[in-house]
Amino acid sequence: MSTIEAESELSVIKKIMEDSRRLNIDNGKHYLMWGILVTFALICNYIMLLTKTGGQYIGIMWFVLMISGAIIDSIMKKREVRTLKANTYAGNIVGSLWLASGIAMFIYGFVGLITKSYNPVFICPIISTSLGISYYTSGAIQRLKWLQNVSYGWWAGAIFLFVFPSIHSVLVFALMLVAFQIVPGIILNINSKKFLESEAHTLNV
């Protein structure tokens, strides 16, 4: 084999590997589903706190909604795995990261509150801090700088909610979810559609 052939072979391999690793771009659907579900729960929670009605049902409402979210999420994931043409390591790592993050938030939110380990007003900044870690790592794995930068929003919000705790913390957290979870989910979804269209176009050319 000549040097030119070896160089050409290496460059073809490099290009194929780079193209294949771009696959499994996050479609943002999980961000959207959780963002909408938790925002809805937070608004219900805020109304209950303001009107001082149904306080005894807050815990049950959260539990039912979070279990429903986990079931919907696992159905979505199962469908994606079945229809995906290829799985990447990066995609699997991001999936594991969010699963671990979800379990951690479940422990903070339910076990932490049931055992009265901390004041319930601090649940929002604790969850925000945890979400910041997940966004930062997820953005780094997917090489999406803007997604990584969303974590600063979560951490800034966490500091604000730790410093100024109030009954309105729940509403502030709901607004943070819209800005730092639903909006990124929409952007990821649009980018994913564009990427799939460009892939289809490239294959048709």
Binding site: S2, L10, I13, M17, S20, T83
Partner: protein, 102 residues
């Protein structure tokens, strides 16, 4: 003196289609037949023949499942295949480096 012989190239991998299949599979955890077909730009028959060679060498494993009642073949690189591909890359790099020295 090293016993690493840069002129020895793995014949199983050394074909444009098989090299491409290996390059795709080394980058993803698992890939469907149709995805490989799109990526390496091969026909069904051609791809089947080349994948079979890789399978026979133990470089690739296949898993057959049903999605919406349709059979789907999912391919994965084996540890042996990963090592063989790594060696193949090393040999290509040696050829390039050796020429620079000369």
């Amino acid at each position: 003196m090293s016993d690493f012989d840069y002129t020895h190239i793995d014949d199983v991998i050394h074909s444009r289609i098989r090299t491409s299949i290996m390059a795709v599979l080394v980058s993803v955890e698992e890939a469907e037949f149709n995805y490989l077909k799109e990526k390496v730009n091969a026909t069904d028959g051609n791809l089947s023949v080349h994948i079979k060679k890789l399978e026979d060498a133990g470089y690739v494993s296949v898993k057959k499942i049903f999605v919406d009642r349709k059979p789907v073949s999912k391919y994965k690189i084996t540890n042996k295949g990963y090592k063989a591909f790594e060696n193949y890359i090393k040999r290509l790099e040696s050829i390039v480096k050796n020429n620079f020295k000369n």
